[in-house]
Amino acid sequence: MSMSAPDDATLRRILRGCRTIAVVGLSADWNRPSYFAASYLQGKGYRIVPVNPKASEILGERCYARLEDIPFAVDMVDVFRKPADVPPIAASAVAIGARCLWQQLGVMNAEADATARAAGLDSVMDRCVKIEHARLFGGLHWAGVNTGVVSSKRRAA
């Protein structure tokens, strides 16, 4: 990785600040990881915007072929594509004014990461939005996962 991984406070800020998430490469197939993640995030109150030229509607939301086609503001661009495909997606994320470029678990493109950071976006690589949300806001604790959370405050909703 070109930069150190974001700490928990940064991830919490990103996940609280972003409400509209464009999911590039979101599958219409219910048992694909992208569908799992988007479905989870939708259930947590995020607006999911599918970016998939092969589908018209996923999870009840209209699909767009490209990020540039989305006619409203997007906070986060969440990428489920192979690493080599990410740099142009990073450029598009900057162009549409997104606040965060998030490369999913197994996706790490340093050039895309640098593009996003240079434009002032938050950038996360090789993490799953769903898993990080669940780790920091309680859901993953359910599954016996070591969340790293040590606190004397009530868990935030």
Binding site: S4, D7, D8, W30, N31, P33, Y35, F36, S39, Y40, G43, K44, L105, G106, C128, I131, A134, G138, G139, L140, H141, W142, A143, G144, V145, N146, T147, G148, V149, V150, S151, S152, K153, R154, R155, A157
Partner: protein
Amino acid sequence: MTQRRFHPETLAIHAGQVPDRETGARALPIYQTTSFVFDSAEHAAQLFNLQTFGNVYSRLSNPTVAALEERVAALEGGRAAVACASGMAAEAMALMTLLQAGDHVVAAGALYGGSVTMLSVNLAKFGIETTFVDATRPDAWAAAVKPNTRAFFAESLGNPSLVVLDIAAVADVAHAHGVPLIVDNTVPSPALCNPIALGADIVVHSATKYLGGHGTTLAGVVVESGRFPWDNGKFPGMTEPSPGYHGVKFFETFGDFGFSMRCRMETLRVYGAALSPMSAWQVLQGVETLPLRMERHSANALAVAKFLQADPRVAFVNYPGLPSHPQHALLQRQMKAGSGLLAFGIRGHGDGAMAGVRFIEAAQFMSHLVNIGDTRTLVSHPASTTHRQLSPEQQRAAGVTPEMVRLSVGLEHIDDILWDMDQALAAASA
């Protein structure tokens, strides 16, 4: 910006539990409920599809049990954990999730008797074959590997053999053959040894022993490291659609906690050896003081071992915490201290086994029973109890001799423990 890495003493108290969201309760509530309501039909569908995380039924997950799971995962430095009804259930859950008919296991010869039986009898009945090897020789592990080998299984510190496993060396052999090393870490507990840091892929515990620590409650835990490459071609159950859970691909969907999710959703869900919330709560009361207790168990055991070593009535003492023990250097590399378990033999006038039985019967407060890891000092005679189902040959392989007495040294005052040892030895040697 760097995140605090908390010490085990802090994790033993805090990991896996923050104050209750509704009430602010600081201690862990006991969620004594079988089931949990759904918000809507859609929510129920999402939970069943594993598209969102949440409780459905306490055979799968329960908030009180989850606190124990996360705490043990944190203490072991693992990615995730699944708790179940006993240590044997934990071992069975790890092996049955990983293996199918036609698979082969390489296991340490010196194992807890119940583990030997599970591998050599119960799993053999389902077409899973095991080769037992001398755990102290990494070349023996390598020589036993077959094309269908899918797991290595050993104890970090053998019960009652007290054989110390060279975890890093055996993990290297396992990984060279593309299979995970499963380590039973019951005797050291995570306070003294962390097999995952040394290369183990899966850790199992009888939490009944030191984790719970008070001899009150049965429980087991399986911890995964999150590092094993399940997509190496040998574990289709991790990478192909699960017929047992409507087509979920566990490794692709859950990544570094995919094995735990598969344990939970395929094995625990179907075989049903779930941990009760009340039991999880009781074990957690013990876990809070685990690091403190392990220091004292180890200090008391070392003092007893030194006392026995100096006593002419004693034929042998087996305690790897003794500097004279052949595996002492390895133990010092891997463990913070020697733990509370030791074995010894009384110099018999003819029948060593009878001297052992007389010792046990003469004890005043040392308790004759087959558990270990209690606050109380416990004594047992493995050849006539835990290992009596094994053949004499299997007993020898498990490190059990007829005269051997196993001691689980407790937290009583060391002078009182030595007094009871001394008077029982006098009775046994009379």
